[in-house]
Amino acid sequence: MRSYIFEAIEHGKKYPAKVFVTSIEHSSFHWHYEYELILVLKGTLSVNASPKPAVLQAGDIILFNSKAIHELQRTQEDNLCLFIQMNQCLFSDFKDMNKTYHFYLNSKTDDLQPKNGYRSFIQLAANIGIEFQRSDIVGYYRMKSLLYELIADLFEYVPYEIHQKAATSKENENPVLLMRIIEFIQENFMKDNMLDELYKEIGVSEKTVYRFLKCNVGVSTKELITACKIEAAKPLLKFSDKSINFIADKCGFGSENTFYRVFKKEVGVTPNEYRQNGTTLEKNPDVKGYLSFSQKEAAELLNKYI
């Protein structure tokens, strides 16, 4: 199995969701726990994801399920897209944490359509995009209500599957614990004794963390740490003039040799090659491949879809 990049999405403290408008240049194959709704506001967006690649046009809407691997790419024309990234916890059955929901919402396909059509989802998404800009108390509650409405609509109108896990399985999906583990690793991956600290901090054994990650994310603890290190190294290679040795050390690779070997294996090129030509990489490592755009234009476009 290919190891894909895991993208951590930081949620605001206010809502278990993140909303933004951006232009996409290229966001290579990645996955995240969040359910991600994208509404194309302008131009076209090429999407590589199950069940088949598609080019979304302005007015198209698509939902990526939690942990669904996907790639987004600019086409010939510029695009502007609304992203609504919703925490997995919003989609949990309070009675059974062993269920995950897999929705089919993609206005580019004809086979599984929402019972009430795409129009209301597009409107709702645009509304969320607009309300998210507000910072007052009305906006706070309006935003919450719209988010929950969106989720209720997904359950009521959109075809979905339930992926059921055993109640007795020790690898139970527990999003809160899972996120704690992943966040801890992301924040501390460069430290030598990070894993010992993790086991102590979270109060789980090495074996449990391993099984937990493997079962829920499909990667081992070691693979996740490696991915974090590589993602941290990339911008340093690209945008700094720090030495390879410094970067290897800073990112927790231990030695330059290890850095070379691991980087080559995971990225396909050596750190030096990557530094010299490399693939597209944006300066802001949090939001990869998201280009800047005019806020005013975004607001106008969103209003068009309400």
Partner: protein, 688 residues
Amino acid sequence: MKCTKKYRLAYTEQAQRIVSSLSLEEKVSLMGGNVSLQEMLADMTADANKHYNYIPYPAGGVKKADVPPMLFCDGPRGVVCGNGKSTCFPVSMLRGASFDTKLEEKIGHAIGREVRAFGGNLFAGVCINLPYNPGWGRSQETYGEESFHLGEMGSSLMRGVQEEDVIACIKHYAFNQMEISRFKVSVDCDKRTEREVFLPHFKRCIDEGAASVMSSYNLYKGTQCGHHNYLLNEVLKGEWDFDGFVMSDFIWGVKDTVEAANGGQDMEMCCTQFFGEKLVDSVRAGKVPESRIDDAATRIIRTLLAFEDSYNEKIDESVIGCKDHIALALQSAREGITLIKNENNVLPLDKGNVKRVVVLGKLGEKEVIGDHGSSQVHPAYIVTPVQGIANVNPKAEVVYYNGENIAHAKKLAADADAVVFVVGYDHDDEGEYISEDQNDAYTGAIGGDRKNSLGLHADEITLIKEVGPVNQNSIAVLIGGNMIMIEEWKDDVSAILMAYYAGMEGGTAIAEILFGDVNPSGKLPFVIPFKESDLPQVDWDTQSQWYDYYHGYTKLEKEGVKPSVPYGFGLSYTSFALGNASFGTTKDTVTASCSITNTGGVNGTQVLQMYVGFKNSSVDRPVKILRGFERVSLRPGESKVVTIDCPIEQLCWYNTDTEKMEIEHMEYEIYIGTSSANEDLLSGTFIL
């Protein structure tokens, strides 16, 4: 059972002494429920955490004379009281399919203990009505279509309950097998039908010592059953010498003070509307003799004293929904779920090979435990079919889809190693009926009889017909309280499992059977015909209904109509060989015995059934009727000899000339085997 009839009768003098010390008002106060209609409705509607019978409903009780109140708990799926606590057993129909009287008695013990733990002293969940047509919406509350079997199962539950010093109430007496019309329908039938088909199971439970009876809502021959002099005074208390008390069905079971009291009604439940002051006035006006009040008061006090004196153990709440009881609920589901088709031995599924299971149909992820009316039990949790499948085979990928989009369902089915359709009914399709409008009904459900069809919903039939053939390993799991027609779609799946409403652990048991952890042993307690019209027809919304002598398998057999699946049929994952049948009689019993060998490769349980035939009868009698059964478990290669006997009096017919149950002296056919179908039976004869 400590509180036998004999034991109870020993309290007669004490009860009479108390009665003679009470005023008329006090005596009458014993004869009615202490719950106001407002209180009852508040339980059901005002507080979302409460519901009907949240606490035991009291009736009577006189402090100064140390007469305890009767404290009513409903059933039969478990104890209705509390929220998130009780053990939710499979419905009685599934328990009937287990043909396991010993297990039913154990369930009775568990229920009895939970009743006591809730503070109750009466369990009104021994429902033994005989569904004349399987469309009856509450047939899930009873055990099957066969009177003898109903008597065996009902009296077993009653015994277990009463052994825990809890009064068992047998219901609904009598002829209550239509739901939508229950408040208005007058049932009529001829005398032989009454005595041979609809009353014997009630008599059986009374003979075995049941201490309480609930009268039904409906009318019999034009008279309200709660007022029925013939049914209550003449038959129950007269001929059958019943020593306990009668209570009315709730709120609308008594409609006239004088007629009910004189008709033999002892207790108006659960709100006092026509008894109480009105009854006191009627006695004072000379319309109801005071001796009738004394009789009712004596019956109530005697029964309560006997049971309360006998109850010394203080059972606390920890027994409610305890591990042992839940284990019993699971065992019951394992024994009752019935395999009715298994082409090419597609079941059991192989855990090693089945890596991806697709569950289709709306009921697959629903917590279906049956009706949301008075029998709804509120357990701590309910395992759905899809959860059960994931739990039992944790390594498999388990995907659920409701099946609305056929193309998508087909795609899922094509990629799966096995497809499980979970189809059938829920509380909106069948159950206790209040109103067509969910909002008007305190149950929050529509319920009622299956008046339009005894088959699956149209969308479920389409789903099975379209998607079933896509995957060789396709299994239909049927959810419902009684017979579901299978003709339209049965060839489109490889296996059919009748799961009834399998209780809080139902999903677990279904999955254990699908994957072979449990070998199915249930037997259909009803016949599945090829055509609905093979069954007696009922006008579900009517003021009057005639019941014929024949129904179910006896009707099909009498008319020479072959069933799709015979009464008493159920497959196993092993095979059995029967031999060495012998039949005989003693002074009081008729006996059938045979050897049975497990000729397959796994442990298995078979239900051997004994039928008696009446070909030589000089009157119109069934071809044959079930008169005994026995569960037998065998390891591969193991053989046992099984003997089943039945009291000769169970072979009586009702002679309308002499007005007596009589034995015919003639040669009878007798059968022993694994279903009611001739090819599954060994036969012989005996002479009486």
